[in-house]
């Protein structure tokens, strides 16, 4: 790994001119991308970007602070519903509603963070699991939230600029994603980030060193929920429709799978994990249309399983990926990337 000699090297965004070059190229690619590819791919990238936000947010909590959460679908739902309802009922402008949605989610994150002060490991997992399920129940039963039927998201405009197509949405989502990733990356280099990491490594030691556990644990929950809430708000507009059934327990595990696949405690890993897994999710949604494999699976399901249930194969594959990664590569894609990098750097030794 590259050695960091002083603090200013550590907080530098990119440490060499070559990296700056690639960084600028990457941004240029992001800007030109939507003009080169068909619409469905733009939709796919939008979907990926939103999930990357969630993954980064969840990684702040799970990977950096070491607190597990099985209830992030709840924050996602809170963000989505608050944004839509604030715009529909109170006629907030979009950006204000989105950020308020994020803060409402953050508030709930703070609330959930309170019991987390006394809980750890399995107990925390159970409490957050309950939270996620409770949120879905409340939303599904309350008429304000559209009940089981869900809500249609209102028309989207920033100022007088109306956003309709996936391409316009792309620029909005990518900008927000970029800002949030940078914010997360910088946050981890500040005293707050270091406090999070020290809590993960040993909360008792952290407290002895003067880290205020109450403050930082609830803060980690709030920040993580804020990210997820913003992502939820964006998702409401990407899908154009939200209903309580889409924010279930399985979604929370999907989010956790994104983080695990990307690699715990790594922003770069989160980006990879979120993108790769979302891509996989969208591909597996239409598994019948894949060449060769699709036909084989169709005949297999007709013979032994049930054709109508075939899309559920995504859940099987996700489950297997989680298990295999935990067993064989606990650091996820990021760990794989680091090992490959070191291998080539030191080659042939």
């Amino acid at each position: 790994m590259d050695m960091k000699r002083d603090y200013y090297e550590d907080i530098q965004l990119l440490d060499s001119k070559v990296l700056w070059f690639w960084f600028l190229m990457f941004i240029a690619a992001l800007i030109t991308f939507p003009f080169l590819v068909p619409n469905y791919h733009i939709y796919m990238v939008n979907y990926m970007a939103i999930n990357v936000i969630v993954t980064v947010g969840l990684n702040i909590l799970v990977g950096y602070t070491g607190q597990i959460s099985l209830g992030h679908a709840g924050f996602f739902a809170i963000g989505a519903y608050s944004t839509v309802l604030l715009m529909m009922n109170l006629h907030f402008p979009f950006l204000v509603a989105l950020i308020s949605g994020g803060f409402i989610a953050a508030f709930f994150g703070f609330i959930l963070g309170l019991p987390a002060l006394r809980l750890e490991g399995p107990y925390l997992a159970i409490a957050t699991l309950g939270f996620g399920m409770a949120i879905t129940q409340v939303i599904g039963r309350w008429q304000v939230f559209g009940g089981r039927m869900g809500l249609e998201s209102p028309d989207l405009s920033i100022g007088s600029y109306v956003i309709e197509t996936d391409r316009q949405l792309y620029f909005l989502i990518i900008t927000i994603t970029f800002l949030l990733i940078m914010a997360a990356r910088n946050l981890m280099k500040t005293r707050v980030g270091r406090a999070f990491i020290s809590i993960r490594d040993s909360d008792i030691a952290a407290e002895t060193m003067g880290v205020n556990l109450t403050f930082y644990k609830t803060l980690a929950f709030a920040v993580s929920a804020f990210y997820t809430g913003i992502a939820g708000g964006l998702m409401a507009f990407l899908l154009g429709f939200i209903s309580p059934n889409s924010f279930n327990f399985i979604l929370s595990i999907y989010f956790l799978a994104f983080v695990i696949v990307g690699g715990l405690g790594s922003i770069f890993g989160s980006i990879m994990g979120g993108m790769v897994m979302t891509w996989l999710l969208l591909v597996l949604d239409k598994v019948q249309e894949l060449p060769y494999l699709g036909a084989a699976l169709i005949s297999f399901s007709e013979q032994y399983m049930n054709l109508a249930g075939l899309p559920n194969i995504a859940s099987i594959i996700f489950g297997l990926i989680i298990i295999l990664l935990v067993v064989f590569e606990p650091l996820g894609l990021y760990g794989f990337w680091i090992r490959t990098k070191i291998y080539w750097k030191t080659w042939p030794f």
Binding site: Y123, A134, M305, N306, F318, I323
Partner: protein, 290 residues
């Protein structure tokens, strides 16, 4: 009204108690909350359903077949996945059970997700016994009796059989148990089998009340956790009592406060208990090792 709520609370409570027991048996041995518990029970119930309806075996044969399947499934999970974890900490165990949960959920929805299944239970839910101020259906009586019987068997098992005592020893101190010649690995597998079987019984008793689909156990799993937390994750008796208490509280809440938000009670109980008495109502206070 009040008695009626308590009686039906008891029969739901006994299902929660079984799930909680299954959970606690695992938790005590390996400190893993098994998030796959619900789906393991669900898929065993589907196996019973298939044997019963598609292949037309008798009820008791299907029941036994499903229990056997559940036991094999439990051993499989322990032997193939949990034992292979490279870096065995709590997070990775939780993740493995979650991954297993998703695999089973996907398999069940793939095979049975599309159709609505009615689980034919030989005891009817509509014939009732009059108890004065309240009525109770034959099915509820059967649920209560089966649960009590199962608990009694478990009690005998842990008290008088060699395997049961070895399990208790492993739960208390795995290293010491090993030194005394207990194959803790094998005991671990057996514990998973036992827990999975108890879960399967809970699933099969829930199926005639609820609809049998892949989501069958999602909420009951949460209730089971709530019951286990309420009674204490480290005591069997506590978990069983927690199940009954949860069933009654939930039903009273549904009857007197709000039927719509009945299922939030479980979550509230989890949070309140964890905030005020994290070790549960019936367990000794636990001390964390640094």
């Amino acid at each position: 009204m009040f008695f009626q709520l308590i009686i039906s609370g008891l029969s739901f409570g006994s299902i929660y108690a079984l799930i909680a027991l299954a959970m606690v048996i695992i938790y005590k041995t390996s400190e893993v909350p098994n998030f796959g518990q619900g789906e393991m029970a669900m898929i065993s119930t589907f196996v019973a359903y298939t044997l019963l309806v598609t292949h037309g075996y008798s009820f008791f044969l299907s029941f036994a077949g499903a229990l056997l399947f559940a036991a094999v499934l439990g051993v499989f999970l322990e032997f193939v996945f949990l034992r292979r974890a490279k870096d065995p900490n709590i997070l990775s165990f939780i993740l493995i059970t979650l991954g297993f949960e998703m695999v089973l959920y996907g398999l069940a929805s793939w095979k049975w997700g599309a159709e609505q299944c009615d689980f034919p239970f030989p005891v009817s839910d509509f014939d009732i016994i009059n108890l004065g101020p309240a009525v109770i259906s034959y099915l509820n009586v059967a649920t209560l009796l089966i649960t009590l019987f199962l608990m009694f068997v478990l009690f005998l098992f842990f008290k008088y059989t060699k395997v049961g005592i070895a399990m208790k020893a492993t739960q208390q101190n795995a290293v010491a148990a090993r030194i005394n010649g207990i194959r803790t690995n094998r005991i671990m597998s057996l514990t998973w089998a036992l827990s999975s079987m108890i879960g399967a019984v809970a699933g099969m008793m829930l199926a005639p009340i609820a609809t049998l689909d892949p989501n069958l156990m999602l909420e009951p799993l949460l209730k089971g956790f709530a019951a286990a937390v309420l009674g204490g994750m480290t005591t069997l008796v506590g978990a069983a009592l927690g199940g009954y208490i949860l069933g009654i509280i939930e039903n009273l809440f549904g009857g007197y406060v709000s039927l719509e938000f009945k299922s939030i009670v479980a979550f509230l109980i989890i949070v309140l208990v964890l905030c005020f008495k994290p070790s549960g109502l019936f367990a000794r206070h636990y001390v964390r090792k640094v």
